[in-house]
Amino acid sequence: MSTSADETLIRASRRDVLKAGAALTIAFWLPQRGAVAAEAPTSAVLEPNAFVRIGDDDTVTVISKHVEMGQGSYTGLATLIAEELDADWKQVSVEGAPADAKLYNNLSFGPMQGTGGSSSLSNSFDQLRSAGATARALLVSAAAQRWSVPANEIAITAGVVSHSKSNRTARFGELVGDAVKLPVPTDAKPKDPANYTLIGKNLTRVDSRAKSTGTATFTQDIQLPGMLTALVLHPPRFGAKVKSFDASKAQAIKGVKTVVAFETPVRAGIAVLATDFWTARKARDLVTVQWDESKAFRSGSAELLARYRELAAKPGASAKRVGDADAALVSAAQVVEATYEFPYLAHASMEPLNCVVRVGAQECEIWNGDQFQTPDQLAVAKLLGIPPAAVKINMLYAGGSFGRRANPQSDYVVEAVAIAKAANVREPVKMVWTREEDMRAGYYRPLYVHTLKAGLDKDGRLIAWQHRIAGQSILSGSPFAAPGPIDPTSVEGASTLPYQIPNLSVELHTTHNPVPVQWWRSVGSTHTAFSTECFLDEIARLTHKDPYALRRELLADKHPRHRAVLDLVAEKSGWRNPRSQDQIWGLALHESFNSVVAQVAQLQRTSDGLKLTKVICAVDCGLAVNPNIVAMQMESGIGYGLGAALSGAITIRDGQVEQGNFDDYPVLRINQMPAIEVHIVPASGKPTGVGEPGTPVIAPALANALALANGKPVRTLPLSSQAITLA
């Protein structure tokens, strides 16, 4: 198995920089299908639907409507097709689908193509199994016809079609020529799950080899004939515009093509277009800009926090109401209150944002690890005044995203097109943000303040729960905005609290400021899991209850998946066994993207301080199509969430972002990574999300352990802002 992305490179020598005869070459990207068609126009290809192609060379190519940005979507989607085809995993490769909302929409998003919400496998599960079953039926019919035997006597095993009675076999490729002549069946039924041979197995990822040999192609790697590289200067404050600029020194540098001002609906700036990155980078640093900051944001994180604290103390718009929390708090024997604070967070994917575009007279071609094809097509079409279908997107790997490449305003894609348009060049343009642009251009997980109040009766039972959240809306002003005063992504996880509390109120204050905000791996759960699960532990400590027992009690007889996950993590960690005083454990439980995750964070007191030695994770993600990838995603989510909990914070002072790179925005490194055990609740049916649900649980699990260890609750993230460090 391999991906065909690396096969889309052709090699052409660039002798101008090489000694004559040197063997090194420069790689140019060419669209694969065009190249294949030109070379072998007569080869037969069975293409019964938009998701699978079988070549007469025996290759099975799965067309992925979802981007591969690390979560294993290419492998998972290919597994569904390969399973129904009974293909040999070694003959399967994957290529990214073109942008086409009719053929490739995300069934959980409606009429748009895009990847997100941990939905790649779940929305494709029935669709791709049917696609695979259809292709299989054609191969079976072709074999039945050729051998004059009944179709129901034909078997397929690991890519070999066989009729045992007559002892005949054929490879897929041998049947393709006949199969293409048959009508495509509309009633092919997917397998009985009892007969799965690939689903549920730990198949090797289709992208492992390319990504271990440096041959996987990311947007950053695209080279096209005549291509220019654009480096940008963004304003120092959100909302500023370009007043004037002087590029005379930059223009004088050899290799610089042009320097232009650009403006998009979300951002203004200057772009330097040159033959290559370093030339553009040096020239960019010689450009001086006068910014118009008359409408720029001049406030900061400290001011926002102060205002949000006041808001979170007052009633807000109702997001969820059960019983009468206000009255129950008045009548309660005891009231507990806590305020939790969360900073802005940057996604900080390894591949800084970039996009390659070629703007033609009536069309536009894009090369990108594109997470939001349909919105990107529409936004680019609007900017250029061309039909959306004239915007072609070539799908590449994305070097991480964590939500950032699914921008509701298509900010970075539109910026690349706006630069090419402003420069009025027909050559392809590769816009590259430096790490500093990537970190300072906004679209952060919003800053939030939560205030929670709980009422306990005289026996210490939880009778009231009031949860007030203040912060910006991610969806407001975007095409995805919900009607009414509640952005569901601001309250999810809080409004869906699984615990049975007779009086509950979740309220929201949506704030407005020009700092651009966006979903960040697990969206609302990034903050609601922390405040709810840490507050619950505060109540457990106050009432001298075991955190596991309290959760079990409050789940009552509802939420069997939560109970099973909680029980599994308790069993596997040995929660109920006695442990030494130096072993201090914290527990958290949370549902997101229809999956339930519980984690036990195990702190050990050492001579160097507290060390997070291990995390035990239990997950119910429905059917685990590839258990190893589920484990990888839990590990990844834990690491991503842990890094943010330890030290993740974008802070703004006088309108300026104070961080710019990995020195002042520290992310998790290998020496901070605990050992991780992942346990999957056995489940049948359909898969649910795994890309995000591991993320939000680690911070509260760790904070709950720290509260026990330090005798003081953690209510503000990141831990570094509270001078809490781990060994």
Binding site: I26, S212, G399, G639, L668
Partner: protein, 152 residues
Amino acid sequence: MITLDINGKKLETDADPDTPLLWVLRDRLGMTGSKYGCGKALCGACTVHIDGSATRSCVLPVSAVAGMKITTIESVADSAAGKAVQEAWIAENVPQCGYCQSGQIMSATALLSTNKQPTDADIDVAMAGNICRCATYVRIRAAIKRAAQSLA
């Protein structure tokens, strides 16, 4: 013109002497396996070997490495350690998004070239300069140990 010794081949470049090696590799020689991640030697995505040592190429002026032996991800498999590391990476399914993994593999190969049986602490020291935002660190540790075993 600066003469470079890259992956066993002598190459000339007319790049400005202050151009970081990373951009000579990527933009002038078309060797895009080494990645740009931070531009400040903070993330390790650009790691190559200079005379066998893991080195961040994003801040290394090309003029400083003239005549030195440069190895990149494109030919690291020519060494037994590099080959073992790549195969271990695949066997352990280390890469997720994959963008940092060339750099991780270069650092891991340099480690195994000098330390045949690295401990967890040795791995932490050698690999702490390489960031992975997908946090594949658990599997990086396992893959380094697997590679060490296969070389023993």
